[in-house]
Symmetry: C2
Subunit: 347 residues, 2 copies
């Protein structure tokens, strides 16, 4: 025992937890394809607006391509980013969650989007899928969430059901766990509101057993923070397949909602409410969102990071929705966590 | 020595550093008067808009009165808050700066305002003066800063000169030290811009010698961070007189600027630039401002805290001002620290 005291027995990592040698290339290729597929489909859907691409390089390593469509017919602004970056060390906020990465170089690639439609009856939507490697650790993270301005339970249910199908092909616990994580993460504590009707959110998926490690210590108080530790051992290939499925579920989850809402007529009331509610998007992204704050504080490309902010926004002191109005219904029902899968019209 | 080991010799605080017994009442009365004087003068200046008051109580102790003028002739939105609050303990962010307050109840009172004019040629302005007591410690903080949309050196110089006069009546080092602190505090690191042309900013003024303790550890990198420790011992009465002078310098510093700019004609170009630049105000307040973040994270009255946000705001991906335009001059000169006191037109 004494002789071995300086050489602790390390259980060799099972090979099923190791990424393949071409992991980075395969994931970044997928992330680019996802950006291509989504921007192509959105440009076709819009019919008028076109994506303008800015390729950029990061002095510390890597770069990306930002694509923005402005002043379209359907989209007032649509931003879809791809990036692939590397560097000498991860920032402290991530190292706290993944101390094994300390002292190692890192690699990160991902695709993210935020779409701000013109018509207030069409919801805003966000997607992000990402992959990290740093020394002995690697993980996937991501998700997608919907932020409607007007309350259509049918839209929320369609979005959730489509994402759930994509999850269920990979693990029965993915949807319930990641749906809850999403409600918890996209929460504005100072407003006591969710950002919208949610969707999926997950982080640090490395296949080693724990789907969910409890709430982000910097995040909002969680109502179900003790329901942690759902175990699901997955290989790198399992997780990459899941990420691909999640990414590819985006268009079928969102596009049908756009198609059925974008021609509904609206007036100043609906437009003003949309601009007001967009303020919450700004508040969430600048006060709480870890990706945004991390990017701003670590010399990211500011214009690409803040592409998520809406093109036009209102704030109104002490706004209250009229009782029994659609705006009040949004607050009462759609800005609280709901079981959208089992939602019925008689609810 | 041994016998006295449990009763360390505490040098009794010199009485000149103690607040008078009626300190809280006197300061809060002044803060209310300042709110009254400013709201009355602004309502007269506007001529159309009126301040609506909301009195509010804080469950943990104290309360305030928020006054908001909306849709005035000159002011699109003007918010002027008074508050007086107390509680069992200060938040960790303040205790880190004032560890002596640990374990003590606190009292805080102050007045703050943000004015968002309609005409893009009239600058946005912010003021805040505040007083804290907590066990053995007390301090004053505050300042005022100007955020123009169009570049008028005359306005920046007038604002700074008026504040400098108010400072100079109390200490020759106040203006130079607090002017620099302001440039440093109201700085958007992710944009590499000051918020505007600055003014005054100071915190933790307790008369005990050090005007300036170096940059806020959470703040931006300071270019003059080694110039600390300017010594100025002041009594509580000295400081209270300075605070009153600073507060009362606000109207003469700002109102003449409004009067000479609010009737200049403008079009969509100027309005769009104003709305775009207002986005920086949102970014500063939500990403960096300690008052805002502290308030949002500690159960403050959200509507009063976010009264500082502009009523209408634009973001535009990769906006760049046209070379040699007034908008470019704002970026080149007015969003960098300048010596406005010695500014000449031949500069």
């Amino acid at each position: 025992m004494l002789t071995n005291s300086h050489t602790p027995t390390v259980k060799p990592a099972s090979s099923k937890f190791l990424p393949p040698t071409d992991a980075k290339a395969r994931v970044s290729q997928f992330m680019k394809q996802l950006q291509d597929e989504i921007t192509q489909a959105l440009a076709e859907l819009d019919g008028v607006g076109e994506f303008k691409e800015d390729a950029w390089e990061r002095p510390e390593g890597g770069g990306g391509r930002s694509r923005v469509l402005r002043e379209g017919k359907i989209f007032e602004q649509a931003g879809v980013n791809f990036s692939e970056v590397w560097g000498s060390h991860l920032p402290p906020s991530i190292l706290k969650q993944r101390p094994e990465a300390e002292g190692h170089q890192f690699y990160a690639t991902g695709t993210s989007l935020v779409l701000h439609p013109r018509n207030p009856y069409v919801p805003t939507v966000h997607l992000n899928y990402r992959y990290f490697e740093a020394g002995p650790v690697w993980w996937f993270g991501g998700g997608a969430d919907l932020t409607p301005y007007y309350p259509f339970a049918e839209d929320a249910a369609h979005f959730h059901k489509t994402l759930k199908q994509a999850c269920d092909q990979h693990h029965a616990e993915y949807y319930p766990v990641f749906k809850r994580w999403c409600d918890e993460y996209f929460y504005l504590k100072h407003r006591n509101e969710t950002r919208g009707v949610g969707g999926l959110f997950f982080d640090y998926q490395d296949g080693q057993g724990t789907l969910y490690r409890g709430p982000d210590p910097k995040g909002p108080a969680a109502s179900y923070s003790d329901e942690v530790g759902v175990v699901a051992q997955r290989t790198w290939e399992d997780l990459f397949a899941f990420i691909q499925g999640g990414g590819r579920a985006f268009l079928p989850a969102y596009v049908p909602i756009v198609q059925r809402r974008h021609e509904i007529e609206y007036g100043d009331r609906e437009r003003n409410f949309q601009l007001y509610r967009r303020g919450r998007y700004v508040e969430f992204n600048l006060v709480y969102d870890r990706g945004t704050i991390f990017g701003l504080q670590t010399n990211g490309r500011t214009e690409s990071i803040l592409m998520s902010l809406p093109p036009l926004v209102r704030w109104e002191y002490c706004y209250q929705p009229e009782p029994n109005s659609p705006e009040a219904e949004l607050y009462d029902t759609f800005l609280k966590p709901q079981d959208w899968i089992n939602w019925t019209t008689t609810h």
